[in-house]
């Protein structure tokens, strides 16, 4: 099988979870599979989308929701994105400014000690502020179609806070938000690593909850390609997946943590000091300024738990959130979109050839299990994580309409039943 296009340009945004691409490059995995890859840093997710759509880059480290979003009419451009490989689960967190943290403690001390920490205390703070006529809180995330945005909204919604009514939601680059937290221009944000660790280390904020605790091991970044490119270059696509899979397995091994922090800290990749990368890459999740450390083994998951499998159920979940928050203004067929956008069949073919066990099913019900479990419906049994949403709701990907109907907080612009239109 010959590689159709050995020379590739892959785009990434300088974040800790771009690690699989940096490792595949630096450890020679791309080379091993016959690929000559140039990694190109991008300044914004808008830019990633444009360059990928135009073919200026061949593949990209991309936010998982951007893949199904590219299939929505009008939301993106005409070029459709697909993915056959998940780069990581989790990895983001919510950080609040020191002054907001103090307000939260004053409002409901007990709520702030609970793990996972809900937005219960925040609701009281918002209410107090509304009653005393203070400005609403400014809360940031990184892109409209991002897990960060949906995790933040989910966390707020679970405590009957409507993000579009009760707070001021903004989008800004994470380094900027970390910078503005001190001056009080941003009160809270949901961002990826290393930016929560940076905020904690600089002493401007406190990380209070990780997205793992809100969404229960949700797909985070993916390797995105154009649909047309994928169908024209199947061998290149396969080689690319295999090379990155090797990097993902390498990153999953604890003993490689130190080396990975060194590699990533280079200005070609993330460009921050290694100690700012270590908490997430080491899988410990213990942040430096914390007096009471909370063990957090799955802060950022690169490979175990069948993490690289592109679950169609996760694409359905993201689409339900886009609908819930009014990003979808016209009827769609969720099932058609996820069938075309996520390519588990292609992943299975590539991964099983190198002996990585693959789930036999394309979906599973999130929210169903409060403890780790074993997935037997696979080439070999796979240990799977606790799978819980912070509000305790179950999500069944076969019934997205019922799922959306169950949310008290939403900003729907179409009816929930408009997402599974029959042809």
């Amino acid at each position: 099988m010959s590689i159709e296009q050995p020379l590739l340009k892959i785009g990434f945004v300088p974040l800790t979870d771009m690690a699989p691409l940096a490792i595949a490059k630096e450890k020679g995995f791309f080379e091993k599979y016959g690929l000559d890859v140039r990694l190109v840093a991008q300044n914004s997710w808008s830019q990633v989308r444009e360059r990928l759509a135009l073919g200026e880059i061949d593949a990209a480290h991309i936010l998982a929701p951007m893949i199904p979003a590219s299939w929505l009419n009008g939301a993106f451009a005409d070029e459709k994105f697909v993915s056959a490989l998940t780069l990581n689960l989790n990895g983001n967190a919510i950080t609040v400014s020191n002054s907001l943290y103090q307000e939260l403690l004053d409002a409901d001390f007990d709520a702030m000690l609970e793990r996972p920490t809900t937005a219960r205390a925040l609701r009281k703070v918002i209410l107090r502020r509304a009653e005393t006529g203070r400005e609403p809180l400014t809360i940031g995330s990184v892109f409209p179609f991002s897990s960060h945005n949906f995790a933040m909204r989910y966390w707020l919604g679970a405590q009957k806070i409507n993000p579009d009514r009760d707070v001021h939601m903004i989008v800004a680059p994470p380094p900027i938000m970390a910078e503005h937290m001190e001056s009080g221009k941003v009160d809270a944000f949901c961002v990826g690593e290393p930016w929560n660790t940076v905020a904690e280390t600089k002493g401007v904020g406190r990380t209070i909850v990780r997205t793992n605790e809100i969404l229960g091991n949700m797909t985070e970044k993916m390797l995105g390609v154009r649909q047309r490119w994928a169908s024209e270059n199947p061998n290149t696509h396969r080689a690319l997946i295999l090379a990155v899979l090797e990097a993902l397995r390498w990153l999953d091994a604890k003993e490689n943590c130190l080396e990975s922090t060194q590699i990533l800290s280079s200005s070609h990749y993330v460009g921050v000091k290694p100690h700012l990368l270590a908490p997430a890459l080491g899988g410990g999740g213990a942040l430096p300024s914390r007096r009471s450390l909370v063990e957090f083994p799955d802060y950022l998951v690169f490979h175990h738990y069948a993490a690289n499998f592109p679950w169609r159920s996760h694409a359905v979940w993201y689409l339900t959130q886009m609908v819930r928050w009014g990003q979808v203004a016209e009827p769609i067929n969720v099932f058609d979109i996820v069938r075309d956008a996520f390519l588990p069949e292609f992943y299975r073919e590539a991964a099983s050839a190198v002996g990585i066990p693959c789930p036999a099913d394309d979906d599973f019900a999130n929210g169903a299990c409060a403890r780790p479990w074993v997935l037997h419906d696979a080439d070999a049994p796979i240990v799977m994580p606790r799978q819980e949403f912070i509000d305790g709701r179950d999500f069944d990907a076969r019934d997205p309409v019922g799922y959306i109907d169950g949310f008290a907080q939403h900003n729907l612009r179409i009816r929930a039943s408009d997402i599974a239109a029959k042809d």
Binding site: S44, S46, E50, L54, I126, T138, G140, V171, M177
Partner: protein, 197 residues
């Protein structure tokens, strides 16, 4: 043209040479405010304050996502966006226009071209915006009626008011605070649902 008030254009570009061309090109026709040192919340409050007639942004700017989100969420007050694009084959420009950018300027920018591009962007934007507003207005009217009904219902339930009393109370607050009944309904819903456990 001369009678019209000058345009306000916000320029987000870290390239000083290009910025100068834009300023020269718009001299006399528009006030250009440069914002390449402001990001995130500061950039947003500047836009809020300035209410520019158009925003010109470099396609490499890290502030792209902030502006894009502004277009998506701040539907009540969107702005025409003009984007600088490096390569002149037009495909990026086409892409950009589809994702909400009103016009583009490719490199090799000359002073003479700036004003027409900005004017066309504003014109085109206004056309789309007017269409869109008509559609949204009918949706919003319906939404406002629903909100007022819900707030009325809540007042009746929580404060044991009659329907008439609830509506009169809301109207009174609206008049005293100089707000619309819909806005009053929103604050009532926000406070009462937050209080509700």
């Amino acid at each position: 043209m001369t009678a019209a008030p000058p345009l306000i254009v916000l320029l987000i570009d870290s390239d000083p040479d290009r910025a100068k061309i834009v300023e020269e090109g718009l001299r006399g026709a528009a006030a250009v405010k440069q914002a390449n040192m402001l990001h995130g919340p500061e950039l947003l409050s500047l836009i809020q304050q300035l209410q520019p007639d158009a925003i010109i942004i470099d396609c490499d700017s890290p502030d792209r996502d902030t502006i894009e989100n502004l277009q998506l969420v701040a539907r009540e007050n969107p702005k025409p966006i003009v984007m600088f694009v490096e390569n002149g084959d037009g495909s990026l420009a086409k892409e950009a226009v589809r994702s909400g950018v009103s016009a583009y300027i490719v490199d090799g920018l000359s002073e003479k071209r700036v004003l027409p591009v900005v004017e066309i962007a504003i014109e085109r934007f206004r056309m789309f915006d007017a269409l869109w507003r008509d559609l949204e207005k009918s949706k919003a009217d319906l939404q406002a009626r629903k909100l007022i009904e819900r707030a009325k219902g809540l007042l009746m339930e929580k404060r044991q008011m009659t329907e008439n009393e609830a509506y009169t109370a809301m109207r009174k607050i609206a008049m005293e605070k100089g707000k619309s009944i819909k806005e009053v309904a929103e604050s009532i819903l926000s406070v009462l649902t937050l209080l509700d456990d």
